[in-house]
Amino acid sequence: MLRFNFPNITSIIIENFSLYKKAEKISIDIDKNVFCLVGANGLGKSTFITILNYALTGIVKNPERSFTWYNSVSSFYNKSKSFAASYFDGRINESDYDLAQVTVKFKIADIEYKITRGFFEPDELRAFEKKDNTGKPIDISEKYTSSELDQLYKKHFVQDSGLSEFAQFAFLQSYVFTFDETHQLLFWDSAIMERVLYLFFGLDSSTAKNADKLRKDINAYDSKFRNLQWQITQSRKELKKMLEIDEDSLTEKDNDIVEKHKELLKDFEVYQEELNSIGKELQECDLNIADLSLKISSLRAEYDEIFNQSLINDTPVEKDEELLKIVKDIKSKIFSNEPFQEYIDRLITLFKQQKEKSKYTDQEDSFKNLKKIDEKLNSHIEKQETVQKRKERFLQKEKELHITIEGINKQIKTIEEDNKNVFENISGAKSSESIALLKKSFQEQIDRYLEQKEESHTKREEARKELKKLESSMSKSFVKAEETFVPKFNSFAKSFLGLEIDIELNLNNKGANLSLRIDDGKRKDSFQLSESQRYFIDIALRMALLGIGTNEASLLIDTPEGSLDIAYESRAGKMIADFSKDKYSTIMTANINSSQLLLELAKICRYNRMHIERMTDWTYLSEVQNKENDKIESAFSTIEQLIKEDEQITGSNI
């Protein structure tokens, strides 16, 4: 299953990057499993992650665009190149434009790479070095231009990594190996997930490339199919223009027929326009419903949690089953003269837990919070109901319009058929071009559209069939990989969430996808997990994918703790520590003023496996940042002490 070799970053040098005002050259060795960049908000922590990704791939992911917009892995890679310039533009001063550059060193298997890029040259490299697994540098001619160096780098990279094109790496680095500030989640984005599944569970990486192309084709045929209806409408309009005739040559009765015909064509056009605008309204409604439903879901999870807090959990001593059981056990141990210290310890732990719990149970506060969320939830639900009603109104209107348009179409056809001679006369009256000929060409055009429509349909079905074949082989490969992948995912996810999680492969018309079943199936849908919990479950998935796909890798995580519940922060820290072992490393950024995540991470990893870098050495702080930074400095000292304790222990051991 270990089919890939992904880069394990060992060092990065950033030069003349104006945003980091204090340091002309920032040089960092990443020689421990966890590298964490800490600092106040607004100092450029996320930018650091972006620089690292840009150095490796030559692209910057545009946060405003979803993957669906690109529609394919190669299009994502090609279209993201130009965004790099606009991203770095505001972060690098005019005077540093040519000087600013980034150098990154990494290993793929035992092969060492070193590349240097300018920030405004996405398809070029300023330097490229590669040493094979014996440490011997490969020959690179000095005559190579910078864009040839870039080509060479990509060629070597593809060869050593086991991928079939560099675009696949750029895609994986952006969407899987990096959890960035856009928080795009694999589990909740079927377009990205499908591509990832083919890459990791397809027969080989070229299957992923094929599947990507097929999915792109299917979407293209679909869209072509829809466009043809619009084309036919346009043809109707042309017909109307075509019938602008010399009315003098017609009898009064003929005139009435022609007038009626013109009127009907006009009506057709008006109703068609109305139909289009209803289509837009419906789309807007769907968008609002989806948005509100997402908000309602995450509020509902919060609501359940606070509702539980509103119930005082103080079981009287005589009813506390756990306590009674321990007392019973102690009694039986005393009577049988056996040691019972273990049970006393359990008793102490139980008391401590209960004391801890009672800290969080201030009923008045939770009532207040519950009321607040209840009001918010209710207002979202009301809004959603309003939009739903609006949507239903438009749907009804759309249905009625379809019937009207169909009626008009029939009338037009009947008039044309019943009055063939009139329209032929018209053709005679038309001086320049014969109407009959025009009508013929119009009919031919419609026929062409119909043919194309049929062709799109056939091609779409063919592509679907092909994709189905790939799906089935991928599904087989997934089942094979389940033995290693599922337990890996489960161990990460469970250490974070504390619950058993099932992960299933689903195959349907929209494509392949992974879905979650938590515990007893009651949390099947995403809304049962809070937003931040979802982040970490998604990170767990990435860790598991890396675990089965490669022997070494660097995972990039940008300020992950977010609004994570305090109870989960240390669990999240443990999960990252569990992953960051051997040749797997995590490069992350954090704002540590309140996070338990880093404390736990530091506690587990200590000096040997963790390095913390402060941003205060890189740039100057504003007044507000200074205030925030005080808190960070104090938290930093705590973590530093934790790490140093270990250092002292290690030192004294030596």
């Binding site: 359940d304 509702f307 539980n308 119930l311 079981t315 519950l370 009321k371 209840d374 939830l377 009651k522």
Partner: protein, 201 residues
């Protein structure tokens, strides 16, 4: 622990009403009344998911929801309700205080309507007759004959279709003259109770 906000609220709400009428209540009565409320919500054209928790049939041909069971245990353990005689309960002061607060929340407003109708029907029909009637509604009746485990209210089972058919006939019979739901609920329960021999017979 399967307790849920809706189950907690339903127990406190139904419990307080039963207590007023019958002095105390037990889990079985709560299950029946909650199930009845859920059926009334379906009659009022709500989707099945509206009720938030599900029911199965227990070994005594009664509707059973694990959420209600766990929530009742929780409430009893933490003194929101007290046991009066074996397996019969009453709300404590703490129980009433929480019910008062939850009653003010918008989240329960919609379901309260149905709980209220179910509880009010007890002023007209005694609880044992209500229980007998519910045992004869199409879904419970079908579940009685079916030994397999499944959720009572599930989409598109023949029994579900029969239930909706009952509701449709009831709508027509009531001629939509009644704005409130109490009249159809009572008519339905009465018609069920006189319909067939009970399944226990």
């Amino acid at each position: 622990m399967n307790k849920s906000p809706e189950a907690i609220f339903d127990i406190l709400y139904i419990g307080s009403h039963l207590q007023t009428k019958l002095e105390d209540f037990n889990l079985n009565e709560i299950q029946f009344m909650a199930y009845l409320s859920c059926l009334i919500s379906l009659y009022d054209k709500n989707p099945i998911a509206f009720w938030k928790y599900k029911f199965i049939k227990n070994d005594y041909s009664s509707p059973y929801s694990v959420e209600l069971h766990s929530s009742l245990n929780f409430l009893q353990k933490n003194s929101y309700i007290n046991e009066t005689t074996e397996n019969y309960y009453q709300l404590t002061e703490r129980g009433y205080s929480n019910l008062g607060f939850y009653d003010s929340l918008s989240s329960f407003k919609n379901r309260k309507k149905y709980l209220q109708i179910a509880c009010n029907s007890l002023s007209i029909i005694p609880i044992n007759i209500v229980k007998e009637a519910i045992r004869k509604e199409p879904i419970m009746k079908s579940a009685f004959h079916n030994p397999g485990k499944r959720f009572l209210l599930d989409k598109e089972t023949p029994a579900m279709i029969a239930l909706y058919n009952d509701f449709f006939n009831l709508h027509i019979a009531m001629n939509d003259d009644y704005n409130d739901l109490l009249a159809p609920a009572v008519v339905w329960l009465q018609s069920l109770s006189t319909k067939n021999p009970t399944i226990n017979d």
